[in-house]
C-alpha cells in the first residue's frame, strides 16, 4: 500500500484561473507552456497578462470561462524534498543487527538538507473567478475583457536561521539575520475592465503594426497581513556575548464585518456575525494593466506589458504593529536576568490610527511568439506550431509575485484536426525555479478543454521531483 506523506507541503489551487503576478495564479494552458503567455495569450487568457492581445484574433470573437462544463481544477503540491531525497534522509538505514535506524548525516548531507529545507517557501494561492469573458468586436473597434475574481494568497518563508541552527549549530561572528523571514496573507476581490485595439499600421517599417491595450482594476481588500519590515538579527560576538536587535513591523487589516482589530493585543470577533458575499472592505485600491503587441511580420510578434500597476490603501480596521530594541545575552545566570531579557522583547506598540498601503503584484512582461509552421524556411509542417519566449520580472514581492526574473519557452503544437493540441514549455528562474510544462488541449464544438502540468519532470522522474501538479479547465468559444 502506498503511503503518502506530504512533507512540508506547498499547495496552490485555483478555480477559473486568471494570470496574476509573475508566477502565481494562471490557467491550464499557461501551465502547459511553463507560464509562457505574454505574447500568445488571447481572449480571456489575455486578461491580466497583456490587454493589447484582446484585439488579436483568437479563432472566435467571444470566449468565456465558467465552471461549466468542466469545473476547473488546479492542484499543485510542492515539497522541499523529492521522494528520493525524503527516503534518503528520513527513510532510515539498516544497522548491523538488522534494525532500521536513522541515517547518520554527514557534513555534505547536512548541507544539502539545510539547503533544501532552509530555502523553502510555503505558498498557498487560491483564486475564484466568478466570471470572465472577452469579446473581439472587430479590428477597428478592438477587444474587450471583463473579470470578477476573488484571490486568496499566502506566502510564508521561515528564516534560514532555523535550519542553520538545527543542522549547523551556532557559530561565533556569524550574523544570524531574520530579514529573510517573510509572511504574507491577502484576500482581495478584483473587478477588471480591459480593452485592446490596433493603434498603428506600418506599411514599410520594421514592424507591421502595433496593438495597444489597457485594463482598469477595482480592488477591494478583505484581509492583509504582511511583515513589512524585519531587520532583526543576532550574532555571537568574539567576546562571547550574544548581541542582537529586533526591529520589525507588521501590517494587518481585515474586514470589520468579521472582527475588530486591536493590533498586538487581540482580534475580537464581531457580535451577530452574518455571512455576506459583499463584506465591507478593509482596504480599497485601483490598478492598471497596459500592454502592447506588435507584429514584426506574419510569423513573429512581440509583446510588452506591465500589469497590476497600483496599490491598495488599508484604512479601515487596520493596525501597524512595531517592535524594536536591542539585547545582549551573556548567559543564564539567574531567573531575574532571563526575565529581564524576555521583558525587552515585550516592547511592542500598535498603531491603530495610521493607514498603510500595499502594492499590487506589478509585473513587467516581455514576450515574443513565432508561428513556426508559417516560417519561410519551412516548406511543409504537420499542423501548426507556435513557439513563444517570455521574460517576466516582478517588481515587488506581493503575493504571486517575485523579484527574481523568470525566463520561459513554450511550444503549442496543433498537429491536425481531431488531434489534441500538444503543449510543452520550460521555465527557469523566478520563485519556483525550473519548471517543465506539458499539456493537452482539445476542442469539442464550442468548448475547449485543457489538461496540463507545469512540472512534467514529475511524470518523467517522479522520485526526484519536488513539484507535482495538475491543471484542468475549460473555455467556451463562440
Amino acid at each position: 500500500m502506498k503511503k503518502i506523506s506530504l512533507f512540508f507541503l506547498i499547495i496552490s489551487g485555483s478555480l477559473l484561473a486568471q494570470t496574476f503576478g509573475s508566477y502565481g495564479f494562471s490557467t491550464s494552458k499557461n501551465a502547459s507552456l511553463a507560464f509562457t503567455y505574454t505574447s500568445n495569450s488571447l481572449g480571456t487568457d489575455a486578461i491580466g497578462v497583456n490587454p493589447a492581445n484582446l484585439a488579436l484574433n483568437d479563432r472566435t470573437s467571444f470566449s468565456l470561462r465558467t465552471i461549466f462544463p468542466l469545473p476547473p481544477i488546479n492542484f499543485a503540491t510542492t515539497t522541499p524534498l523529492s521522494v528520493e531525497k525524503y527516503n534518503y534522509f528520513f527513510g532510515g538505514v539498516t544497522d548491523a543487527q538488522g534494525n532500521r535506524v536513522g541515517r547518520y548525516l554527514t557534513q555534505s548531507d547536512k548541507d544539502e538538507l539545510n539547503e533544501l529545507l532552509g530555502e523553502y517557501d510555503f505558498i498557498l494561492n487560491f483564486q475564484l473567478n466568478y466570471l470572465s469573458f472577452a469579446i473581439n468586436v472587430n479590428e477597428k473597434v478592438g477587444g474587450f475583457g471583463f473579470a470578477f475574481t476573488d484571490r486568496f494568497g499566502a506566502s510564508l518563508r521561515l528564516s534560514k536561521i532555523f535550519t542553520d541552527l538545527i543542522f549547523s549549530g551556532l557559530y561565533p561572528m556569524k550574523l544570524y539575520s531574520l530579514s529573510d523571514l517573510d509572511a504574507k496573507v491577502t484576500f482581495l476581490r478584483e473587478i477588471s475592465f480591459s480593452y485592446g485595439r490596433k493603434i498603428l499600421d506600418f506599411d514599410y517599417a520594421f514592424v507591421k503594426n502595433i496593438y495597444g491595450g489597457i485594463a482598469l482594476k477595482f480592488v477591494r481588500g478583505y484581509y492583509y497581513l504582511s511583515t513589512s519590515k524585519n531587520n532583526s538579527f543576532f550574532r555571537y560576538d568574539s567576546d562571547n556575548v550574544i548581541r542582537g536587535a529586533w526591529d520589525f513591523e507588521i501590517q494587518h487589516a481585515l474586514t470589520p464585518d468579521i472582527a475588530k482589530n486591536y493590533g498586538k493585543d487581540s482580534i475580537i470577533s464581531v457580535k451577530d456575525f452574518s455571512f455576506t458575499l459583499f463584506p465591507e472592505p478593509a482596504g480599497t485600491g485601483l490598478g492598471f494593466d497596459i500592454g502592447v503587441t506588435s507584429f514584426i511580420n506574419d510569423q513573429l510578434r512581440v509583446s510588452l506589458a506591465v500589469t497590476d500597476i497600483g496599490s491598495i490603501t488599508w484604512d479601515r480596521n487596520q493596525a501597524i504593529i512595531k517592535g524594536n530594541g536591542n539585547f545582549t545575552f551573556e548567559g543564564y545566570s539567574s531567573e531575574e536576568q532571563l526575565d529581564s531579557l524576555v521583558d525587552k522583547f515585550k516592547n511592542v506598540q500598535s498603531n491603530l490610527n495610521t493607514s498603510f498601503s500595499s502594492g499590487l503584484p506589478t509585473t513587467l512582461r516581455l514576450g515574443l511568439s513565432y508561428q513556426l509552421d508559417q516560417a519561410p524556411f519551412i516548406s511543409r509542417f504537420p499542423g501548426k506550431m507556435l513557439i513563444s519566449l517570455d521574460y517576466n520580472q516582478g517588481l515587488n514581492s506581493e503575493i504571486g509575485n517575485s523579484t527574481k526574473p523568470r525566463v520561459s519557452l513554450g511550444i503549442d503544437w496543433d498537429p491536425a484536426k481531431r488531434i489534441p493540441n500538444i503543449r510543452t514549455g520550460f521555465s527557469v528562474g523566478g520563485k519556483l525555479g525550473f519548471m517543465w510544462g506539458f499539456g493537452l488541449g482539445m476542442s469539442l464544438g464550442p468548448i475547449e478543454f485543457n489538461f496540463a502540468t507545469s512540472n512534467f519532470d514529475a511524470l518523467v522522474s517522479p522520485n526526484t521531483s519536488k513539484k507535482i501538479n495538475l491543471y484542468v479547465d475549460s473555455k467556451w468559444r463562440f
Binding site: G102, Y104, I166, P462
Partner: protein, 523 residues
C-alpha cells in the same frame, strides 16, 4: 483502437508503479556544534562568607577584612551548693534537769559559715531528745531568727515536745518557706553565727535530776537567697568541649594559614555580689579523635592560667598571637577544643550575698583576621551527583566540548585546582580540569593567578586568566557512570606574602561554551 485504450490505462499504472514508496519516517542523526555564552557571575568575598557562620566582616576595618571566629567555648555554672548539703549545720547539748522549769540558749552552726539572712526554700530540722530521768519532761525550742508569714501574722519556728522518762524521741520538721534573719539580740560571743534556739524545759521534779540529751540538726537546706560570710571552697573542675570550627572541612586550609592578627578573648562573668570566684588551672586544650597528643594554648609560655573573677562583674582579657601560640594552635587544627578550669568560691572569704539565679561563667573565643599568609592551603570537597538517567543519556550524546572560562580575579589568592569524577565504587573516571583532549598525564591542573597586591598586601589590580576545559567523546561516555565529583583547591596568597583578604575582593567569571553534540531520536 483497442490497443490505444489499453495504452491509456497502462500509462498511469506504469507511472504510479515508478514512484518509490515513501518509507516510514525515521529521524536521522547528526552532529551539531553550538557556541554559546553560559553565564557571567560576579562574586565578592562578602557573598561567599554570608553563608558561613564562622566568618564575619569587620566593617570597622578600612579594608572590611574578614574575621574567622571559633564558637565561644563557654562554661556556665549555677550555684549548686545552695541546693546540696554544703550549708547544713547541727548542734547538740547534754544537761541535767534542774527544778520544775528552766531555759537556755543554743546555736546550731557550721564552722566558718556566717549567715546574716537567707530565704529557705526547703529544709528539715531533725531533732532527738533523750530523757534519762524517770519522770516526764516537757521541752519547747523556739528559733527567734526563723519566721514565716502566715496570713496577717508572723509565725516563729518552734518545737514543743513531751518526753516521758527514760525515753528518746526523734522528729523531723519541715522548714519550707521560712526566712532567716539573725536577730539583733542574738547572744553574741561564744555562740557566734548560726541558728539561735531558745530551749525551755519543764517537769514535775524538784531538785537536780538526771541529764537530758538534745541533738538538733538542720539539714537538706535549699536556699533561694543567702547573705553572709561563707568560707572558701571548691566548686569543682568544670569543662566544656566543642567541635573546632576552624578545622573540619577546612582543616587543610587552616593548616596552611599564618594569621597576622589573632585575638583570643577570655571572658568571665560573675553575678554574685561580694564573692570572688577563682579560676584555677584554666586551660584551652585541642584534642584529636585519632588519639594524637593534645595541643595546649600557651599563654605567656604556660599552658594554664590562674585568675579571679571579681564579684558582680563581666571582664574580658584579650591575648594575641604575640603572647600566645595561637597561630600554631590554629594550624594544628585539633578536632575539638576543651576549656577546663577549677572554680574556687569566695577565695578571699568575703561577705556577700547571692540568689539562686546568680551565674558564674567563663569562656574563650578565638578571632582571626584575614590579614594572613597562605601557603599551599588545600580545600577538598566531594559532591554527590544527583543526575537522572535520562539526563545522563543525553549528556553521553556529546562528542566534544570546550568550556572557556574567563576569570578576573580580584582576590589575592593564587588558586590551583583539580577536579575529577568517580564512579559508585569511587574509581576515578577522568579529570574534567583538563585543558586538552589528549588525556596527557600532567594535564589535570587549572591555575588561576592571584590579584596583584601592594607591600601591605592590599589588592591593587585584578589578574586575568583564561581557562579552557576540554572534554572528548570518551569523557562523555564515562560521565554516564559518574556518581561523585571531587574538587580540590590549593590556595596560596599572592607572591606568598601576607595579604589582606577583604570582603570587597571580587572574582568575575565569564563562561562560554562550545559543544559538539549528536542529535538523535531518544530511545
Amino acid at each position: 483502437m483497442k490497443n490505444k485504450k489499453l495504452l491509456l490505462i497502462l500509462l498511469p499504472v506504469l507511472f504510479i508503479s515508478c514512484i518509490s514508496e515513501l518509507k516510514e519516517p525515521v529521524m536521522p542523526s547528526w552532529d551539531i556544534e553550538l557556541n554559546f555564552p553560559m553565564a557571567i557571575k560576579n562574586y565578592t568575598i562578602e557573598d561567599v562568607v554570608k553563608k558561613q557562620d564562622q566568618i564575619q566582616i569587620d566593617n570597622t576595618h578600612p579594608n572590611k577584612i574578614l574575621k574567622f571566629t571559633s564558637d565561644e567555648i563557654e562554661k556556665d555554672t549555677t550555684l549548686d551548693f545552695l541546693f546540696d548539703n554544703t550549708l547544713d549545720m547541727e548542734g547538740d547539748t547534754t544537761l541535767p534537769v534542774i527544778g520544775p522549769s528552766f531555759g537556755f540558749d543554743m546555736v546550731i552552726a557550721e564552722d566558718s559559715l556566717k549567715i546574716d539572712s537567707s530565704t529557705i526554700q526547703s529544709g528539715i530540722v531533725e531533732y532527738r531528745i533523750t530523757n534519762n530521768n524517770i519522770f516526764t519532761v516537757n521541752i519547747t525550742i523556739v528559733f527567734p531568727g526563723i519566721t514565716r508569714r502566715s496570713g496577717g501574722s508572723i509565725d516563729t519556728f518552734k518545737i514543743a515536745e513531751t518526753v516521758p522518762g527514760n525515753q528518746t524521741k526523734s522528729f523531723n520538721i519541715s522548714m519550707n518557706n521560712y526566712t532567716y534573719r539573725q536577730p539583733p539580740n542574738q547572744p553574741p560571743g561564744q555562740y557566734g553565727f548560726g541558728f539561735w534556739a531558745k530551749v525551755s524545759i519543764s517537769s514535775s521534779f524538784i531538785g537536780i535530776g538526771q541529764n537530758l540529751q538534745l541533738f538538733i540538726k538542720v539539714k537538706d537546706l535549699k536556699y533561694t537567697s543567702l547573705a553572709g560570710q561563707i568560707k572558701p571552697f571548691s566548686l569543682g573542675t568544670k569543662r566544656q568541649v566543642v567541635e573546632n570550627d576552624l578545622s573540619g572541612k577546612l582543616k587543610e586550609f587552616f593548616n596552611a594559614v599564618l594569621f597576622d592578627s589573632v585575638v583570643v578573648t577570655l571572658r568571665t562573668q560573675n553575678s554574685i555580689k561580694g564573692y570572688d570566684i577563682g579560676l584555677k588551672n584554666l586551660q584551652l586544650v585541642g584534642r584529636y579523635r585519632n588519639g594524637n597528643p593534645p595541643i595546649y594554648l600557651l599563654i605567656n609560655g604556660k599552658n594554664s592560667l590562674d585568675t579571679t573573677i571579681l564579684p558582680n562583674s563581666t571582664t574580658s582579657i584579650k591575648f594575641s598571637n604575640q603572647n600566645t601560640n595561637i597561630n600554631e594552635f590554629i594550624k594544628a587544627t585539633p578536632d575539638s577544643l576543651e576549656l577546663i578550669s577549677t572554680l574556687i568560691f569566695n577565695p578571699g572569704y568575703k561577705i556577700g550575698a547571692m540568689v539562686t539565679t546568680d551565674r558564674i561563667s567563663f569562656s574563650i573565643k578565638i578571632e582571626a583576621y584575614s590579614k594572613m599568609r597562605i601557603q599551599n592551603a588545600y580545600v577538598t570537597d566531594t559532591l554527590e551527583l544527583d543526575i537522572e538517567d535520562s539526563t545522563r543519556d543525553r549528556i553521553t550524546k556529546g562528542n566534544e566540548a570546550e568550556i572557556k572560562t574567563e576569570i578576573e580575579n580580584g582576590v589575592p589568592l593564587t588558586v590551583q585546582f583539580v577536579g575529577y569524577f568517580l564512579d559508585r565504587n569511587k574509581n576515578k573516571l577522568f579529570y574534567f580540569t583538563r585543558q586538552t583532549t589528549q588525556n596527557l598525564p600532567g594535564d589535570t591542573l587549572i591555575n588561576i593567578s592571584g590579584a596583584n597586591v601592594n607591600s601591605q598586601g592590599v589588592v591593587t589590580t585584578s589578574s586575568n586568566s583564561v581557562i579552557r576545559f576540554n572534554l572528548n567523546k570518551s569523557d562523555f561516555e564515562k560521565f554516564k557512570n559518574a556518581q561523585y565529583a571531587v574538587v580540590r583547591f590549593k590556595l596560596s596568597s599572592t607572591n606568598n606574602q601576607t595579604v589582606v583578604l577583604s570582603a570587597e575582593n571580587r572574582m568575575k567569571f565569564k563562561l562560554s561554551g562550545r559543544i559538539n553534540y549528536k542529535i538523535e531520536e531518544n530511545k
